[in-house]
């Protein structure tokens, strides 16, 4: 008899694009596996934590799912994951990786298939260091993920800071920050501004005439929003554990079939959804969630072909993987990314030591 997967993700409202990509990537992998014994119950959390909690209750109490996945945002993850795993469910995160869940609050049934939140920022710091930047201006919204971002960057960067700014969450006008950047004498800019905030910043930054190099995590340069940023993003270096040109057969097939199926290029989030599903399928080959210990061991083995190439879990069930530096380019009419180097190799995270199951 089959297994039931509960997916809670954001499908309506402002941040819906990410959830839709995760879902589409995930479902593509399920379809490709040819297995029809995997039932996926998909729910829309509307990006509201209390709704997510309620949906988790529903999936666990009435749908009686075996495995959960899908959450995009850290704050929703914090609301749902601890109580779900405490009730004996497995949770495979396709996106959010808050630091608590990687360290002190880790759990043996919680696996993160994307990254620990700091990872891409650390990679950006490492890239900045490698590129010889010594005076960065850094900026993120004033909320926990923003604080983590700046901490992550500083962890690897080691140079001086020309300025450090926390912006308002949801801010759309960056004229004053840009003026501060211009006046700061910085040699580079690092920013973490997910979603619309990043689009606004990049457009305004490009229009300001400042020519300092910019580094950021992949979130503001992902396939879904690059088209909206346009020329302003060209040439910007960003860090990501995945890109469509990573050279391995799984990835090539993924990019091709995703495009064929959904008529758009896959994004980072789609790849994460796809990998999450494949991890699950690989584990199901050897064990059933009913036998929690065996199933957990199967997950830990991570015996699947990742779109990222090598993929392994660290001791805290978070990825150990390469993180690349990419550059935004234009291919024909389409803005996309090209890998220009590896920023961090076989990187795990800073919190693993705090984790004991």
């Amino acid at each position: 008899e089959g297994i039931k997967v509960g997916m809670i993700t954001t499908l309506s409202g402002g941040g819906a694009g990410l959830g839709i990509d995760v879902r589409d990537g995930f479902m593509l992998a399920i379809a490709q596996s040819g297995r029809n014994d995997i039932e996926v119950v998909i729910e829309d959390d509307q990006r509201k934590p209390d709704i997510a909690v309620q949906l988790a209750d529903k999936l666990i109490q009435s749908e009686k799912v075996d495995v959960m996945t899908g959450i995009i945002w850290s704050n929703l993850a914090m609301a749902v994951i601890p109580s779900s795993v405490a009730q004996g469910k497995f949770y495979l995160s396709p996106n959010a990786g808050p630091s608590v869940l990687a360290g002190k609050g880790c759990h043996q049934n919680y696996f993160n298939v994307a990254w620990q939140n700091d990872n891409l920022h650390e990679a950006a710091g490492a890239y900045a260091k490698g590129a010889g930047y010594t005076n960065s201006f850094i900026m993120a919204p004033n909320y926990p993920a923003g604080h983590d971002a700046l901490t992550g960057y500083k962890r690897m960067y080691e140079g001086e800071l020309a300025g450090e700014i926390f912006t308002k969450l949801g801010q759309t006008d960056y004229a004053s920050e840009i003026a501060q950047i211009r006046a700061s004498g910085a040699d580079s800019v690092f920013f973490f501004l997910p979603g619309g905030m990043g689009i606004s910043f990049l457009k305004q930054y490009a229009d300001s005439g400042i020519e300092l190099p910019v580094v950021g995590p992949a979130f503001s340069f992902d396939q879904g929003i690059l088209q909206a940023v346009g020329d302003a993003a060209l040439g910007v270096v960003n860090t990501s554990q995945w890109n469509k040109d990573i050279d391995n057969p799984t990835n090539a097939a993924f990019v091709e079939t995703f495009q064929a199926e959904y008529d758009r290029l896959p994004s980072l989030y789609a790849s994460q959804g796809f990998d999450t599903a494949n991890l699950l399928i690989s584990a199901l080959e050897t064990a059933s969630p009913d036998d929690a210990d065996a199933f957990r061991a199967a997950l830990e083995a991570a015996d699947f072909d990742s779109t990222r190439g090598d993929f392994a879990f660290g001791s805290n069930h978070h990825p150990v993987q390469d993180i690349y530096a990419r550059e935004v380019i234009k291919e024909g009419d389409v803005y996309t990314n090209k890998i220009i180097g590896v920023a961090l190799e076989d990187h795990s995270d800073a919190y693993a030591a705090d984790c004991s199951f």
């Binding site: 309506s12 829309d44 909320y143 993920a145």
Partner: protein
């Protein structure tokens, strides 16, 4: 057409019967859903005291909902991490006891309502709506950046708090607790509406200058109504946090204030059970439409529109017909 009094009884009865049915048929999620509806209804009944009786359209009631939520979150967080809330000048420990948490939630909400009310009541009408919104936004942004308690990530509490003599982990038990509180508050609301205070408040809403010339202070009447209202919504916030075992700044958001208000409008302003019917309807719509399509908000929007356009006086108005004179 049925009489409003009968409708009220029917609503409360159904609201109790459905989870009971779910309990015997092993449908725990239905109970969770009903609990959610009951708690929202409680928050809305609270707001309705200010809004329906006192004419105070508060677009900032999420403040009290959030304060209630964080009262629970902070106390339980300290209890579960065994860290004291405060050491100097005297020791305050966290707690996992619902009654204590409720008391704290209600007292803090009362203080906040007193303060916000004092300042906001200088204004009237739309300005009142907006100044209460402003207070809501202040609390929201503050909670987002309050790192000690999780900031935007919020606070998780792993085990539901306890109530003496009741196993709150059993969904139906927690439901009953919430339901009893709702009934008590509805009773309180009925009494207030018919009381001398209620009469004076209603007049203060309509003709403040008249109230003054009979020697009463309309603003003080409204302030008291606002505080009572805030206290009830605060209590609802504490219960909501306990239902989710989680609090976050979204409890303070303007959307939350808006939703509480929408429950009332949907059900019927100044109707005893308006907020309850509104909250239940909204929760059900959200639940049943949510699965229909990615674009289910469109259906929700259209349904709400139909209700506003064709049901004067909200759903209660639709069911009971024209409002009858108070007896």
């Amino acid at each position: 057409m049925i009489r409003e009094r009968h409708l009220n009884a029917l609503v409360l009865l159904l609201l109790f019967a459905v989870p009971l049915w779910a309990f015997f048929n092993d449908a725990p999620f239905t109970i969770t859903l009903a609990t959610r509806a009951v708690i929202f209804a409680l928050a809305a009944v609270g707001l309705n005291i200010a809004l329906g009786l006192g004419g105070l359209v508060s677009f900032g009631h999420a403040v009290f909902f959030g304060i209630g939520g964080y009262s629970m979150g902070i106390l339980a967080h300290h209890a579960q991490t065994y860290t004291p809330l405060m050491e100097a000048p005297f020791l305050i420990e966290g707690t996992k006891s619902m009654p204590v948490i409720w008391l704290v939630a209600m007292v803090t909400s009362a203080f906040a309502a007193l303060l916000i009310g004092l300042l906001s009541l200088r204004t009237a009408g739309v300005y009142f709506i907006m100044i209460t919104l402003a207070f809501g936004q202040m609390f929201y942004f503050f909670s987002i950046s309050w790192a000690a308690y999780g900031g935007e990530d919020g606070l998780s509490v792993y085990v539901r708090n306890g109530f003496p003599g009741v196993n709150t982990l059993v969904p139906i038990n927690f439901f009953v607790i919430c339901f009893v509180i709702l009934c008590l508050v509805v009773l309180l609301n009925t009494l207030i509406a018919k009381s001398p205070f209620g009469l004076a408040l209603s007049a203060a809403r309509q003709v403040p200058q008249r109230v003054q010339t009979v020697g009463l202070d309309p603003n003080r009447l409204k302030l008291v109504a606002f505080v009572i209202s805030g206290v009830i919504t605060g209590l609802a916030g504490a219960l909501f946090a306990d239902l989710n075992r989680f609090v976050s700044p979204t409890m303070f958001s303007w959307q939350m204030s808006g939703e509480i208000m929408i429950f009332i409008i949907l059900g019927g302003v100044a109707r005893l059970c308006g907020p309850i019917i509104g909250a239940v309807t909204f929760v059900m719509l959200e639940h049943f439409l949510g699965g229909l399509s990615e674009y289910w908000h469109i259906y929700l929007g259209v349904l709400l529109l139909i209700i506003v356009l064709f049901a004067r006086g909200g759903l209660v108005g639709l069911i009971t017909g024209r409002e009858v004179a108070h007896d």
